[in-house]
Structure formats: structure tokens, C-alpha cells
């Protein structure tokens, strides 16, 4: 019972860890380059969740001073993660651009086939 309670109280951490492991597994286990990038994105998404979770205060509002409110959420993680999201988007875009060029040069985006093509040289 205690275990279920701990689980339920920390469910967003459980989701974070699940996304982290799922993303990392995709990066390691898949040979398709686009799938690898998707795995990488999922992995990065888990970090966004990791940061946002402790920043939320239940009942707190956006941190804009107003006499009607007294409890505010911490804005810092949102700002940090906005930056991290932009970094993630840039990485994904660059990764996809590289995959497009790899596909043009090799005619495939499967890693094992590409290695086989380079070994032929």
C-alpha cells in the first residue's frame, strides 16, 4: 500500500524516468537514423519534465505581482526549459538536415547499410 502511495505521489517523476529510459533505449537500439533522433527528442523531453515538476507550487499562479494573489510558482525552471526546448529544436533540425544529406549521399538512412557501403570503398 505504501508503495502505491509513493508511486501515486511521485507519478510525474515516474513518467520522467520512463521517458528518459524509453528515449535512451530508442537511441541505442534502433538503426534507423530518424528513429534515433525521435528517441533523442523523447530523452530531452523527459528533462523538461524533470525541471518543470519542482517549479510548480499547488495553488500558485504565474509570478506577476498582483494584490489578488499571494502564492506564486517558481518561474526559473520555465525560463530554463524554454531555453532547453529551443536548444532541443535546433538539435533536432540540424540532425534531420544531416539525415537528409546522408540520404542524398548514401541512398539509405539505416546505419548498418551505410557502414556496409563505406566498407566497400
Amino acid at each position: 500500500m505504501q508503495l502505491v502511495k509513493t508511486f501515486a505521489e511521485h507519478y510525474n517523476y515516474v513518467i520522467t524516468i520512463f521517458l528518459m529510459m524509453a528515449g535512451l533505449y530508442i537511441v541505442v537500439a534502433r538503426g534507423n537514423m530518424v528513429k534515433k533522433l525521435i528517441g533523442l527528442s523523447i530523452f530531452q523531453t523527459s528533462v523538461y519534465l524533470l525541471y518543470i515538476t519542482p517549479g510548480k507550487i499547488i495553488g500558485g499562479t504565474a509570478p506577476i505581482l498582483d494584490p489578488a494573489f499571494t502564492v506564486y510558482s517558481n518561474p526559473l525552471p520555465h525560463v530554463l526549459i524554454l531555453t532547453a526546448i529551443v536548444v532541443g529544436v535546433a538539435t533536432l533540425a540540424l540532425g534531420l538536415a544531416l539525415v537528409v544529406r546522408i540520404n542524398e549521399c548514401y541512398g539509405t538512412i539505416e546505419e548498418d547499410e551505410i557502414f556496409a557501403k563505406d566498407d566497400d570503398q
Binding site: 504565474a62 506577476i64 524554454l82 529551443v86 533540425a93 534531420l96 538536415a97 537528409v100 542524398e104
Partner: protein, 138 residues
């Protein structure tokens, strides 16, 4: 070019509202959720929508490639320039407190300028990415 009448008319109807929403998100960013990043993506999305429904040629008439590619460094220049302006006026880099007659207004002006830079860079980048990917393999 798509011949689907509903898509084309629907796109035409929705376009001004997308742009208006982008501007709302941009200028409401200091008192609510929003800011340059989100507004930039929405504005970039507008060009992408035009490109998808009316073809790349139409999109490029509205947002020429040369302009889009110049927008990317221009936005960063506005951001960095705002920082340097603080530096030239004797304060630290990115200190906007000296840009106006009193610090509160000066900081508001500073953050608006920075967000303007972000808007330009992000919308430019989104559009440039779209053009770059669409043009491959032609």
C-alpha cells in the same frame, strides 16, 4: 498548387487571424504567457501554411528567401545590439535600466526590443528551415 477550394478559401480566411495572434502573443508577453519564441513560431507557421496550400512560389513572393535568411542574423543583432547599447551607456552588458528616463520603463523597452529580436530570428529560422527542407531533391 492545391486545387481544393475549401482549403484555399479557409487558409485565406484564417491568415490575418494567425498574424494577429502572433502579434498578440508577442506584445502580451510581458504580462502573460507569450513572447518572441512563441510569436515567432506562429508567424513562421503562417508562411509555412501559405507554402503548403498555395505552393512554394507564393510563399516566396510574400517572404523572399533572401529576406528570410537575412532575418536570422538580424534578430540576433537586435538582441546583442540592445545589450551593447547598455554597455555604451555605461552600464553592464544587457542592463536595460538606462534606455529610458526611468528604470521601469527602460526595462520594459529593453525587453520589448529583445523579444522583437527573438521574433525576427525565430520566424526567420522557421521559414528558412521550411524552404531548405522543401527544396531538397527538386
Amino acid at each position: 498548387m492545391s486545387l481544393d477550394l475549401i482549403l484555399r478559401i479557409g487558409t485565406k480566411l484564417i491568415l490575418p487571424f494567425i498574424l494577429l495572434f502572433a502579434l498578440y502573443v508577442q506584445f502580451h508577453g510581458d504580462y502573460g504567457p507569450g513572447g518572441g519564441f512563441q510569436a515567432g513560431v506562429i508567424a513562421g507557421g503562417m508562411v509555412i501554411l501559405i507554402g503548403i496550400t498555395f505552393g512554394l512560389g507564393t510563399a516566396k513572393r510574400i517572404a523572399p528567401q533572401v529576406m528570410v535568411e537575412r532575418m536570422v542574423p538580424l534578430g540576433v543583432l537586435i538582441y546583442a545590439g540592445t545589450g551593447v547599447a547598455g554597455l555604451l551607456l555605461g552600464k553592464n552588458f544587457l542592463d536595460y535600466g538606462v534606455l529610458g528616463h526611468d528604470p521601469v520603463h527602460a526595462r520594459e523597452l529593453g525587453i520589448l526590443l529583445v523579444e522583437l529580436g527573438v521574433l525576427i530570428t525565430v520566424s526567420g529560422t522557421m521559414t528558412a528551415l521550411f524552404y531548405a527542407f522543401v527544396e531538397r531533391g527538386r
